[in-house]
Symmetry: C2
DNA sequence: TGTACATCAGTGAACGCGCGTTCACTGATGTAC
DNA sequence: TGTACATCAGTGAACGCGCGTTCACTGATGTAC
């Protein structure tokens, strides 16, 4: 096995174990000894690769967020009309959340965790170009009178807000959170919210 | 001083210190010794009142969430028309967030924290009647053709989603999050998203 | 192809500090008569 | 109004366990000649 492959394999096993332990404990940072037992990787090796316990959490966060963003980008790659873009964003965000509930939980649970601050630079580096591609894609559909002129920030929260809120409620074991209903009804409603005056 | 007053005063000092320490460390659960030093309350007394470290976090969460919900309820108390209700929800949610940024951060940071699970029952008890009053208020405006018929869950995420997302981005030190723009533009846009077909 | 060396990956025992929690106790408020 | 007792609020030293991190080391892969 090549060095790179060995390394990647080890990192993967550690991140898998970290995710499993998060699922069991709801803690985004897990005891390194436990992590070692579960992953079959020695404590020293975990430090060799991640530097610290929060380093593991930061890497896992980057991994999960990357997976979600890649899924979104792939999904809307072919879409041309605004209707299709919105529809695909909602559908892929929610279906990814459903199929990757633990990773999705990890993302939402980490949003305000201390390690996000510590590792802001590294995380941003991983995230930024995908976020920019997403933003550019949205931006390209704004204008021409079909979409109301608003600060881009307002467009973002109108589009992502309802979807993220639905996901969060479902992930919190939400009483009556119904992702199928959201998937069905949100796209046309979000479209209405950003449409220009006719 | 009466027993109740003494008790309340102690609890308040502890919760104040816990919030200040959260502001400094971003940790929702803080070392009890530190908490004692900052609040001027002994470790034993903290345990007497809160039972555990997560107990303090749970109490602080209930306190912050209660303050936000009370502010929302008060704000929309007099509103009669749907337009006014939406407008007031957005305005009061965002202005409360701005004026109580640390408490707001604590709320969002706690949403997926382990102690939420441990203390679910106690937290729900505090929260539920206010949530129900809010829900009832929203429900009362749905119907009569002015608002599109949708599962209530969908209405909720359409109304709260964009507002909460704007708040979260601003609280995360969000690059270009502009709460004033949100306060100005969100209400009519949210209204459009839930309006019935004309 | 082979040898010598460099670099990276992986190990796990050892350290020591900080943490959450307990507990026997004192002090203050409330209650009964 | 006063006394005796009960209940609750508050104290802080002591405990011991679990935690994150380090480090001297071995083993595997890569590189130079």
């Amino acid at each position: 096995m090549t060095r790179q492959a060995r390394s990647d394999n080890t990192r993967e096993r550690v991140l898998d174990a970290a995710l499993a332990l998060f699922d069991e404990t709801s803690s985004v940072e897990v005891p390194v000894k436990l992590l070692g037992e579960r992953s079959g990787v020695s404590v020293g090796s975990i430090y060799h690769h991640f530097g610290s316990v929060s380093g593991v959490a930061a890497a896992l966060y980057s991994h999960c967020m990357g997976a979600l963003l890649d899924h979104l980008l792939e999904s809307i790659a072919g879409a041309e009309r605004l209707e299709a873009v919105i529809e695909k964003i909602v559908r892929s965000y929610l279906s990814w959340t459903k199929r990757n509930a633990v990773k999705a939980r990890f993302i939402h649970a980490s949003a305000f965790a201390p390690f996000i601050g510590e590792y802001r630079a590294e995380i941003e580096k991983e995230k930024s170009d995908r976020m920019e591609r997403l933003a550019a894609l949205l931006h390209s559909h704004v204008g021409g009178g079909r979409v109301k002129e608003l600060p881009f920030f307002v467009h973002e929260v109108l589009i992502i807000g309802p979807v993220a809120e639905a996901a969060r409620r479902w992930l919190s074991g939400g009483s009556d959170a119904d992702l199928s209903a959201a998937q069905k009804h949100l796209p046309p409603r979000i479209l209405e919210s950003i449409r220009g005056a006719r």
